[in-house]
Symmetry: C2
Subunit: 306 residues, 2 copies
Amino acid sequence: MSESPVELVIVGSIGLDTIETPREKRVDILGGSVSYACASASFFSKSGMVGVVGTDFAESHRDLYSSFGIDLAGLQTAEGDTFKWHGVYEANMNNRETLSTDLNVFEHFEPNLPAEYLDCPFLFLANIAPDLQLHVLSQMTDLKFVAADTMDLWINIAHEKLLEVISKVDLLTINDSEARMLTEEHNLVAAAKWILDRGPTYVIIKKGEHGAMLVSSEGVFIMPAFPVDDVEDPTGAGDTFAGGLMGALAKSGEVSDATIRRAMVLGSVAASYGVEKFSLERLNGLVAADIDARADVLLAMMSVTS
Amino acid sequence: MSESPVELVIVGSIGLDTIETPREKRVDILGGSVSYACASASFFSKSGMVGVVGTDFAESHRDLYSSFGIDLAGLQTAEGDTFKWHGVYEANMNNRETLSTDLNVFEHFEPNLPAEYLDCPFLFLANIAPDLQLHVLSQMTDLKFVAADTMDLWINIAHEKLLEVISKVDLLTINDSEARMLTEEHNLVAAAKWILDRGPTYVIIKKGEHGAMLVSSEGVFIMPAFPVDDVEDPTGAGDTFAGGLMGALAKSGEVSDATIRRAMVLGSVAASYGVEKFSLERLNGLVAADIDARADVLLAMMSVTS
């Protein structure tokens, strides 16, 4: 039995994002893969955040993390500025362009884990450089299930390291265009099988507003996304999805094709709330019952028997 | 009780298509909305085809229709050439460009129905000019359920007539980009509700490889498409889907949100077969058991409980 004070460890980026959508521009708002993932996981499990911020990081952001119940023992503060990202969305909100990235304190980040996290059974390597994902993975002693997410940048500049990550995880989550880029397979089932051949037991291909697909040796699960009335900011949707999924899995304690399917629905619902506002604004204040309520609606939308 | 020799009447276009995909070019192959729709419906119901061909139309095409069990009493032959369409697909097979359209015998087509079709309870107005759809609709005497499909061309050049069609049908099927064009709503649920406000009880928004969505006062159903390994030609997929759906509904005889959901799965499976080859080549030779077998696979892919 783990002695860890957390049920799930998540490592990833913490950033101050400047985001331009067709309707609005927001400057230096709280973002980063681990922010979204831990907030989403918190509806289901106690998660520990592993990441780095600069001395400019507002106390109010830490307070927000704590209000989600996130454990911050693995949150380092380094001399310098917090990582910054500036992106702009096209009119359809599906495509975005990165205008600038300032690594800042991220450049010398070494994700050394608090001793009390090392025997935690669930680990989510949210989007971050593959060598940092490997560094975290190497420290864990009693893993039962580890998932990783990635992005196009690492496919391009850290291909071998990314393949090493993939070879060592139980689940890879990746979006559709990135899966096609990584595998050079246009068909998503073929792309998923290419990835399965390289190590993971499960692959989830994220399709944005079109939902997500799970592929394993047990079959294929294709889930729609909850149709959100008004998407204010899609940033972090994939992290929110995967964080919620991992939080739900850690809560259930059991990992199988069936528990992952159910956890995907919950993660997807968390993401559908998340995109209704910028940053963590919509997730903040939600409770597990809100997730369950929308999950029931989504399940009815997926049911052939209505 | 209807005396009609057919369970479902379908009117639409018959064309000789020249289609260019990234891998292949095929010249003057059998196509048109009613060809695909009737062939697909035939797995479930006896359908009657209403359309027009020219004197150039090969006897072998008629034989193919007959081999599907399609009733041809409403198939007119007019002096002149059959309607022709020439299109080219982009590399991703999702977008296509029309290079030429030759109306030929279609220009003076008057879809007058055989007397024995008039009291048929099920009618599908496949994609064709809205005034022709209205002309067919006006002749039917005992309709229980009528569906219509349309395309961007009619939204642009026959907007008022299309709205009149919409006001008179029970179900409208329309693809996602066309639904957004027609309603000026980006969100597909909002687009569907705009259409429901104008008459139909049901709206199905077709999303190509991403499946389809049914919206009615009873709720929303979101169905994925079967992931086809290798799409050879997506032409007619929407017609195959809707034709199969209507054939399955006519067979069940009962129309409700639940029977439409089930019929959508069957229509979608028929379409997933259809795109594996050009024209009706893949549908030809399939039997209802093939549809059922793949439907079982798709249903398992949609099930949260795996």
